[in-house]
């Protein structure tokens, strides 16, 4: 299991060719209380950087981008029904979707936890 982060405040837990993707605790805290989550449909093929999900806090909507290319193979319906799960457990039960990586090596270049912590200060 490999843990990686992006500059756009997403985390990826990579297990073989499938990555579980969510938003970081820092992002969840900055956004504040989430009231709406829109997830992609299973089977959606994503390019790196493509808009894949939308999160809305009380104040504003934010896009979530695909950290790497791949195909959506699972989504977390629980956070659609109860967006507060993302605020409570952003890096565990608040996961967004699972991505079958187009290229298993594509995630290796992303930041590790130490580099991400340095980024957010």
């Amino acid at each position: 299991m490999l843990l990686r982060f992006t500059e756009d405040h997403e985390w990826l837990k990579i297990d073989g060719e499938v990555a579980t993707v969510g938003i970081t605790a820092y992002a969840a805290e900055q956004l504040g209380d989430l009231v709406f989550v829109q997830l992609p449909e299973i089977g959606t093929t994503l390019d790196k950087g493509q808009e894949v999900a939308v999160v809305e806090s009380v104040k504003a909507a934010s896009d979530v981008y695909a950290p790497v290319a791949g195909e959506v193979v699972a989504i977390n319906e629980e956070i659609v029904n109860d967006p507060s799960i993302v605020n409570a457990n952003p890096e565990s039960s608040g996961w967004f979707y699972k991505l079958k990586l187009a290229d298993v090596k594509s995630a290796e270049g992303l930041m590790d936890e130490a580099a991400y912590k340095e980024l957010i200060g």
Binding site: H9, L31, V35, K59, A60, N87
Partner: protein, 388 residues
């Protein structure tokens, strides 16, 4: 994802942000601060906007609204009727009929019938006290000085303003100042709180019962902390203030009303009483002919409550259509988001009067998709004002 960078503006902004007398308290309470109308204001506290909002409806929320302008108009003649007649040259309210110890909602209008600002006016027996929007206060002060200088001394006060809102507001304030319990909605009185004379109005911007307390800056923190000692009272930030007023169906100046919206289309006809529509004091305020004509004739468009039928929040700026596809926008959303007490998205906006009947289904465009929204009725949450 891109994270809203509002909080960093404070560091990069060319003009330094102003601070209210409660600024240090907000920092001590670990508030998330953001620039608003030139002030560094608390957006929310660590509890978060949803809890702050719901706590206000269930118990009491304490809001710092010291950024708002407080302006005193004192009649040069000593006669309040002279000041009232002068103020009526600028607003369409019945100021002559406003009794001592009472407050009223009104707005400054312009020559084209639009709204320059909305405000509260209190009759304080020997002067009038105006509370105006923060973003408009310099403009309002200039307009009042210019328009009233023959009749009134116009003075901006450098005082703090605290709003205590919610069903427990009365009991919380009564612990420090028992006389507040005898006040009705829109009463204004001088009350002693922790040894300081404060000007207290029974009003607010949440739809709840509550008080707005004007007090000297140097005791603001002590009194705020005195109220916060009560476990029923929790601090609430501007984010909760906005969701609370939206649920209450109240207008936000600059979003729902502005210089392009006339009172009739904004649904504010109730604030223009008979005394200013007929008889010797008809009109006389800027844009009166246009405004009164529209009251008679009816406005071509109307501000309406909108209930999105999906879970997707529909926000300010979203265009509104009659059709699910094609067509041209017939109006737009002016305020919208999530209502924490109704637990669903809510919005308001302008639509043609022919499409303003409750139940009419329109479509709001959000991220390229047309989502159904039904015209609803205000307020989304019933008002809880204390009336006799």
């Amino acid at each position: 994802m891109s994270i809203d960078a509002k909080t960093s503006d404070a560091k990069t902004s060319a003009t330094p942000l102003q601070r209210t007398p409660l600024h240090a308290l907000h920092l001590a309470l670990d508030a998330r601060m953001a620039p608003f109308a030139g002030y560094d204001m608390p957006l929310n506290y660590p509890t978060g906007v949803l809890k702050e909002h719901r706590h206000t409806r269930a118990a009491a929320g304490l809001f710092d609204v010291s950024h708002m302008g407080q302006i005193i108009l004192r009649p040069k003649s000593g006669g309040m009727a002279d000041a009232a007649r002068a103020i009526e040259r600028l607003v369409p309210a019945d100021i002559l009929g406003l009794a001592p110890g009472r407050q009223r909602y009104t707005f400054l209008t312009n020559d084209s019938g639009g709204i320059l600002d909305d405000l509260m006016v209190s009759n304080r027996s020997d002067h009038y006290l105006l509370v105006v929007n923060a973003a408009c206060k310099a403009q309002d002060l200039a307009l009042l000085q210019d328009g009233l200088e023959r009749d009134c001394n116009v003075e901006q006060l450098d005082r703090a303003l605290i709003a205590l809102q919610g069903p427990k507001a009365e009991s919380a304030l009564a612990r420090l100042s028992p006389d507040c319990a005898g006040m009705q909605f829109m009463d204004v009185r001088e009350l002693t709180i922790l040894g300081t004379e404060c000007v207290v109005a029974r009003s607010g911007y949440t739809g709840e019962d509550g008080f707005e307390i004007s007090l000297p800056a140097d005791v603001a923190r002590e009194i705020a902390e005195g109220l916060l000692e009560n476990p029923d009272v929790a601090p609430a930030g501007l984010a909760a203030r906005d969701t609370l007023r939206l649920e209450a169906g109240l207008c936000l100046y600059g979003a729902d009303i502005d210089t392009a919206t006339a009172p009739a289309m904004a649904g504010l006809s109730w604030a223009i009483p008979a005394a200013r529509r007929q008889g010797p004091r008809t009109g006389g305020f800027p844009g009166a002919r246009i405004i009164l004509e529209e009251l008679d004739r009816g406005a071509a468009s109307r501000r309406v409550a909108l209930a999105p039928e999906t879970r997707t929040p529909v926000r300010a700026g979203a265009p509104l259509f009659a059709e699910e596809s094609g067509g041209t926008p017939l109006g737009h959303v002016t305020s919208g988001g999530f209502g924490p007490s109704v637990d669903r998205p809510i919005a308001m906006g302008y639509v043609p009067t022919a499409l303003s009947a409750p139940g009419t289904v329109l479509f709001a465009e959000v991220r390229g998709r047309r989502l159904p929204v039904a015209v609803a009725t205000f307020p989304f949450v019933e008002h809880q004002y204390k009336r006799a």
